[in-house]
Assembly symmetry: C2
Homo-oligomer: 136 residues x 2
Amino acid sequence: MLLAPGSTPRIRITRQRQIILDELCSVTSHPTADDLYQMVRRKLPRISLGTVYRNLETMAELGMIQKLEVGGTQKRFDGNAATHYHVRCQRCGRVDDLDLGLIAGVEKEAAAKTRFAILRHRLEFTGLCPECQKKL
Amino acid sequence: MLLAPGSTPRIRITRQRQIILDELCSVTSHPTADDLYQMVRRKLPRISLGTVYRNLETMAELGMIQKLEVGGTQKRFDGNAATHYHVRCQRCGRVDDLDLGLIAGVEKEAAAKTRFAILRHRLEFTGLCPECQKKL
DNA sequence: ATAAAAATAGTAATCGTTATCAAAAAAGAG
DNA sequence: CTCTTTTTTGATAACGATTACTATTTTTAT
Ligand SMILES: [Mn+2]
Ligand SMILES: [Mn+2]
Ligand SMILES: [Zn+2]
Ligand SMILES: [Zn+2]
């Protein structure tokens, strides 16, 4: 039987999807899709890289996780879906969370200066991580 | 900007480099490498895409221009090398400058919360441009 | 003018990501 | 349960932005 018009198709909880989410939420690093692939393969050795990409994309669209478009060649993922800020090491690419409160009213300020409708903001710091400071 | 002969023994003044820089500085949009390639080809029809990429990279490393790692698949370039903020339309990808003063002391605040050495920061707003607001 | 260094055009290679698709799994109705 | 429909998967191909390569040309220094 067909679904009733207007009904929302359910998102199925597959073993693959659950483990990808579990692995992502178990770390505070901000792994790339390939990082996650390596992590998940320890529990599901037959999973394909495409499945990892597909599910990360789906979960990001549903707002369960965040896709981070920080610098570098690869995108990173964040199990914390709430807005928060990051620091990225310009030498090794490490990305850490920053325990800095959200800048109050900054979206309202921005909205007053543009005709764009502001939906969200992203603040990212660039610098050198402790390890890379030693090496330079 | 004018390339000064003799001031930097490493970088040479080529017609290609000067025109790429001129074209980038002549617009307030934030063109991709391919956008610039199309613009520059009107004046140098024989230039190669690789030359555009190579020179944008070089000039960004020298701090003459900015390479913007905003969302989307392609990187964008900015003839304004000074720190300033951007809004990006999440529907069409348009990137505008935001005439918003730099957030005072935010790098200092961040530095107090991390062991990273903070070098710079980037603030980007996401939203919908006027045209895309109409269409949705 | 000569030689050394750097940059170019043209092209191939790389690599992160998406798309495709037959097969498998999950959900629903009876 | 069985039968049917929808979603997801694994495998692989395709894509597209960027980078690498290289013989030749251009620029700069002597
Ligand atoms: Mn985070
Ligand atoms: Mn700008
Ligand atoms: Zn580092
Ligand atoms: Zn738009």
